[in-house]
Symmetry: C2
Subunit: 463 residues, 2 copies
């Protein structure tokens, strides 16, 4: 066995105990809200058949799928010998010969597969959430990893806009519970975008239009104009677009303007009507929460994943830290069609857990509570003290208190630095005096304060 | 996009909401006990560099590692063109050209890598637990999957046998909390096995000896005798071995016999002494729990992973269901040596979560509680009733009650079967009478009983 200096694959991460406590805090907070709204957890395998994934994410996406090599002596198959490394430059052809499985790229396609395979067991509408890692062979960079968790909730089989409204509430409740105070839940509707392209008379250019106006934030109206001209729009078209793109005011004012602009587009008006229905549901579900209304923002430039979504589109941004979106989602009318189950509508959202982690870290919003870890360490001076400590250790644990006895009679300094390193808030010191009197030295590691207490009083304090 | 009939890779599984609740129940129960004993959670990436894993699991193990194909146009590298499919039969050589990463095969090697890479941040002794999936390209069969969860706790950097004793307590507490009543925690010690081989005068045949006597359960003493003869032992050796292999009586009686047999082996006596110390710690930690002592069984035939373990060895079996071991572990003196960090001793255990799942299912031990899911469904008769229901839905959720409003005015039968399918225990029916009186029909789905209550009383009942 040769000694290898260990390292991690590019773009992957270890999570320390301190990081795990924080990550679990985020996932648990979000999961609790999902459950409160009736979403149930499922899990799918990390591997999917390559044909389940291929062609679902576009050509660029396909390249980023991590393929798994077939196991066994795959070269024994004569077909595979037809491949000549010296002459053939096409790794796709080689891949098809030696790989049949791949790591999941997102949670949406596996979910669609799940729904189709389990349709007979499912009571529709099916409300599921899923928190699992996904893998992408992207170039790693700050904040972008090759393995990262997605945190999704979707409902399939219900066209009701109540679902959209509840997703807004879920975003609001989960992010508020995580301590975020100033964030926007942006909403748009694919039908409004279609309506606008229709009114301009360029319905076929809807993708070009939305790609361009999606950049308003970054390149400003002049930049968008330039791009629209390059993408086949005329100056007259842009004149028509301008008031829509630069729409100002409250959501109600924006809706009023849009309805007048879209007066001749049935699709467009359907879009504004859907948004109005969602707003109406939200306001009826939040009669005591006026703060929520101010976080919702109708944003016509929002277009994420346009080819995918068919109705409402969501995106969430925090205003407290410079950071990309921390969540997004939308309605797709035909999620499972790719696997042969037609006309099943779905709507879903996703939380960007890694970004939320960075936001909470930067705003110092993680709770200081160390409730997750060991609550008290018993020192270990010598064999006699250890012997004395064993039933005390048992008693603490019987009371449900996470407790440790330092496993050897090391120097006190070492034992204290162990407690520090693990963020253990209390230490029980047991020496000769303590064993004689039964009054143990109970030390608060944060304040440094010590007091002499019997074990019953210590247990009371720790509970 | 062609339509593919979806399927799952061999040996992998989807987990439905019902299964997830049960799986989470097992994991949460075990994690709670790990934490109570001072173990902290870490996670490592699903992928490791191939060189981190290769050579750690033996030749057979190496073959079962799932390799990940390098991404990008790897054929452009001229070195790779030297491989000729038509002539070269060695897939290992091909693999080395096109794969650098693999899926983790267990949690132990990644943990060793973690300890070495993070040694400067860790306060030793380092007590960590880890619950993550692993992947093995084994032939799938009943109860054996290609993706399955491991559930491990290990401590490195502490030679104290208190750790071994606490692992026995952890097994006992976790399995008891899961409702198991009749199980055995078997213990052995590698040094006892070494001592026995030494006494017979065949220390070099220790592996052959233990492989043979490990099968006593399955093939009986005659079978073991036959195998020992084949593996180079004489009839005289076997005469010496017989009383040891067939050791009967209480743990104390077995220890007494062993000590007399091993009187001339320093190593062997070290082994019995270690076992005695562990037993001693256990009894001092369980003064009020006499039941625990009866679950511990000194078993000299226990040898699992012999080449790996250097001290105590554990294995857990249930007596209530015919099933292989549901847990195992042991002490290894040099876990991190493979990555260049010498002399760091460790001891760890693992829970077989999939088998425990099957055991609990067979014994009907999963709690009936549906606390994890939606607690109440509000029916949806028509638009007026929906409007009336929205603030009620809000009120329930504000009280922390997981609640849903059926998202459309479907037939009542459909709504009821939705509640049934999701195991929702209560339904609130809202029709004309209810809206007029404010007394809502509150239905217990299990008993079928209905009563008319105002929302305040309903909330009280649900809390």
């Amino acid at each position: 066995m040769s000694i290898t200096k260990p390292s991690l694959p590019k773009g992957t991460r270890d999570f320390s105990p301190q990081e795990m406590v924080k990550r679990n805090y985020i996932f648990d907070t979000i999961k609790t809200v999902f459950k409160k709204y009736g979403y149930a957890e499922i899990q799918t395998p990390s591997m999917e058949n390559l044909q389940t994934l291929t062609g679902k994410y576009g050509d660029e996406g396909d390249k980023l799928i991590f393929k798994i090599l077939n196991s066994g002596e795959f070269l024994n198959d004569p077909k595979k010998k037809s491949f000549n490394f010296a002459q053939d430059d096409n790794s796709n052809r080689l891949v098809s010969l030696i790989s049949e499985k791949a790591l999941r790229y997102d949670l949406t396609v596996p979910f669609a597969r799940y729904v189709v395979m389990h349709q007979s067991e499912i009571s529709f509408p099916f409300k599921r959430f899923q928190v699992q890692p996904v893998w992408r062979a992207d170039r790693p960079q700050k904040g972008r990893y090759r393995e990262f968790y997605q945190c999704d909730a979707d409902v399939v089989g219900s066209p009701s806009l109540l679902n959209e409204a509840e997703f807004i509430l879920i975003y609001h409740e989960a992010l508020s519970n995580l301590g975020l105070k100033d964030f926007n839940i942006k909403i748009n509707n694919r039908k409004i975008l279609s309506g606008i392209a229709e009114i301009i008379g360029k319905p076929e250019l809807i993708v070009d239009m939305t790609v361009a106006i999606d950049k308003l934030d970054k390149i400003g109206f002049e930049g968008v104009t330039k791009e629209l001209l390059e993408r086949g729009f005329s100056n007259a078209d842009i004149d028509k677009l301008k008031p829509v793109i630069l729409l100002q005011g409250t959501n109600e004012e924006k809706l009023a303007s849009l309805k007048s602009v879209l007066a001749n587009s049935e699709t467009g008006l359907k879009g504004t009507e859907e948004i109005e229905t969602v707003f109406d549901y939200v306001s009826k579900l939040t009669t005591h929460n006026s703060q929520l209304a101010t976080t919702i923002e109708l944003d016509i430039t929002l277009a994420r994943g346009l080819n995918y979504y068919t109705g409402c589109i969501f995106e969430v941004k925090t205003n407290e830290v410079a950071m990309g979106s921390i969540g997004g989602g939308g309605r797709y009318d035909d999620l499972t069609g790719m696997f042969g189950l037609k006309d099943l509508t779905g709507v879903g959202i996703s939380f960007g857990a890694d970004r939320i982690y960075d936001v909470l870290e930067e705003l110092n919003l993680f709770p200081v509570s160390t409730a997750q870890g060991t609550k008290v360490l018993i020192s270990n001076f010598d064999e006699t003290a250890e012997l004395y400590a064993l039933p005390i250790l048992q008693q603490l644990r019987t009371e449900g208190i996470a407790a440790e006895l330092y496993p050897s009679s090391a120097k006190l300094k070492k034992q204290m630095s162990y407690a520090d390193g693990k963020n253990i808030p209390y230490v029980i010191l047991i020496g000769g005096d303590e064993m004689e009197s039964g009054l143990l030295t109970f030390k608060n590691m944060e304040s440094g304060a010590q007091e002499k207490l019997n074990i019953t009083s210590i247990i009371e304090k720790l509970r």
